[in-house]
Amino acid sequence: MNDSAPVLAIENIHTFIGQFHILEGASVAVQQGGITVLLGRNGAGKTTTLKSVMGITPPSQGSIHFRGEPLAGKPSNVIAQMGIGYVPEHRAIFRELTVKENLQIAERKRGDLARRGDLIFDLFPDLKRLYGLPGGNLSGGQQQMLAMARALVPENHLLLIDEPSEGLAPVIIEQLMRAITRLTDHASVLLVEQNFRVASRLANDYVIVDEGQSVASGLIANLVNDDALIQRYLGVA
């Protein structure tokens, strides 16, 4: 594998959920150490793209390669073990486990948590204070931090982060953005983010998904100045 090859290469995937054809030819690449953001309206297929990578809704056509290896046919636990951390939307933590247990079960090798503890508490100092509390007792922002921290416990090469800023206060979003920026020292990121301002500050690359297809992609710096494209697919100016 050479350095210029993407960490994640999604090529022309088609994914069905039940009888609904959700993805109709989506292609996304995530470069080593970079942050790629998936943009698009509600229901465009952004979350399904992440779930297709994780094997939760496996694609029926097309291919997904992670560090050169095809993911087709692998169950989601095996895909996770390959080094992909998934942070689902709606702060998908385990509400009945304590903060400590939520982090502990993410260990893939013994001692993962001890190795990453400093980084995690540096990024999210709140979690240290809440260590013994059940996850369900945390506020929304704290739960989102815990969900991201969980993906940091094992050595992941790629993080899939779905809508981290959804429903959170601006000051919390700022903190999460700082954390995500620092994550790239450890892993590449594929991010779904509705908040265009947040997305444009974080990401290097973008892919716009519309009606299940990837319709535009490139450097986010170029998109920021392309009002026509933003207006057409994202409805914001």
């Binding site: 169950p75 989601s76 636990n77 996770a80 486990l97 247990e101 993410a106 369900g136 007792n137």
Partner: protein, 369 residues
């Protein structure tokens, strides 16, 4: 010194109860002026007197607690609902009984072999059922286990070899183990098995494996997508629960010196389920409190007769009705069971005044609402 202090602070009351249980036969003996070892007649001991009678009651509590704890591991901690738990309980009982009564083995050897094979068979049965059906979700798995247990019940009710519906008596157990001769020893053996089972379960649930069980209970897909082969963990839970229920079944056969198809019947599935829910699903102590509470209530009320107008009602005849009423009452007053509701209440109190307390009560409201 410090670790002893923190141990006493955390577990001191459990140690206190344990010492109380150790002393129990002698306390009852002193209070009632009976002998803790029964009454000698010729060269045998006859199990008569208040102390030995109460030992039998507590032995049953220990056995039911083991059964309820094993049900709780599966249902409360891992979120797998089985309606066939009696299968493990009864099958190991039959294996143990058959080895003792239907083989030419020496009694001691048959007892030892019966214990090992009974528990091993329960574990294997759990593995087999799990491999065949754990991919089924929720109610389908529950119905499958119900069908399997009922089939076993019908099979043994008709099997002439094991005396069909009547079941068969165990003629001889090693004297030191036999509850009709050495009840005090048997009391301490069941107490030891119960305590070891409880401590093992506590250890397991404090381990990372236990956390994965709880994660699966809450959201299996999520547990899978962070890298766990959830089927394997559910299998493990089923095998451990099966072995514990199997051990309880063997103790039950030793206590009653009898094996019969009722051990495979619905009662031994429903009772641990009720005990678990009443005591507190997914708590360590809940099933124990549920088992002790319900069984002691049953024993205490069984022989009471209430005169109501002209009619007199024997409590034993309407026990099912009473159990139902208790269940409804507890579920309404303690929505998380006795222990579960207490734990939530305490957690809320502990974090009052803490910055997280607002979040805590918010979360509590969300969960109850």
């Amino acid at each position: 010194m410090n670790s002893l202090k923190s141990f006493l602070k955390r577990d001191g009351w459990m140690l206190f109860i344990f010492i109380g249980l150790l002393a129990f036969p002698f306390i009852v003996a002193t209070l009632t002026g009976s002998s803790p070892t029964g009454v000698p007649r010729g060269d045998r001991m006859i199990m008569r007197g208040e102390s030995v009678r109460w030992q039998a009651v507590l032995i049953e509590v220990f056995i039911l607690s083991l059964l309820a704890m094993s049900y709780n591991l599966l249902f409360g901690f891992t979120g797998v609902v089985s309606f066939g738990h009696a299968l493990f309980f009864g099958l190991s009982g039959y294996i143990f009984g058959i080895l003792l009564e239907y083989t030419a083995l020496d009694t001691g050897l048959a007892t030892g072999l019966g214990i090992v094979l009974g528990i091993a068979a329960s574990g294997l049965l759990g593995l087999g059922i799990g491999l065949a059906t754990l991919r089924l979700k929720g109610v389908y798995f529950a119905i499958f286990t119900l069908a399997l247990a009922e089939m076993a019940y019908i099979f043994f009710s008709r099997l002439q070899l094991t005396k069909a519906e009547d079941g068969f008596a165990i003629g001889e157990l090693p004297v030191w183990l036999d509850p009709t001769q050495s009840r005090l020893t048997f009391y301490y053996i069941t107490l030891a098995v119960f305590v070891v089972g409880f401590l093992l379960l506590r250890r397991l649930m404090a381990s990372p494996t236990g956390a994965v069980f709880k994660a699966i209970r809450e959201n299996e897909d999520r547990a899978q997508s962070i890298g766990f082969n959830t089927l394997r963990f559910k299998l493990l839970s089923l095998v451990i629960a099966g072995m514990m229920a199997g051990a309880a079944g063997i103790l039950q056969v030793m206590l009653n010196k009898k094996v019969g198809p009722e051990m495979l019947g619905l009662t031994y599935t429903i009772d641990p389920l009720l005990m678990t829910i009443i005591g507190g699903t997914g708590t360590l102590l809940g099933p124990v409190i549920g088992a002790a509470g319900l069984h002691l209530l049953d024993v205490g009320l069984r022989d009471q007769v209430i005169a109501l107008g002209g009619a007199s009602i024997r409590i034993a005849d309407v026990w099912g009705l009473i159990l139902g009423a208790i269940f409804i009452l507890v579920v309404m007053v303690f929505p998380y069971g006795i222990v579960g509701t207490y734990q939530r209440w305490r957690l809320k109190r502990q974090h009052r005044g803490d910055p997280a307390s607002a979040a805590t009560s918010r979360a509590a409201r969300r969960q109850s609402g």
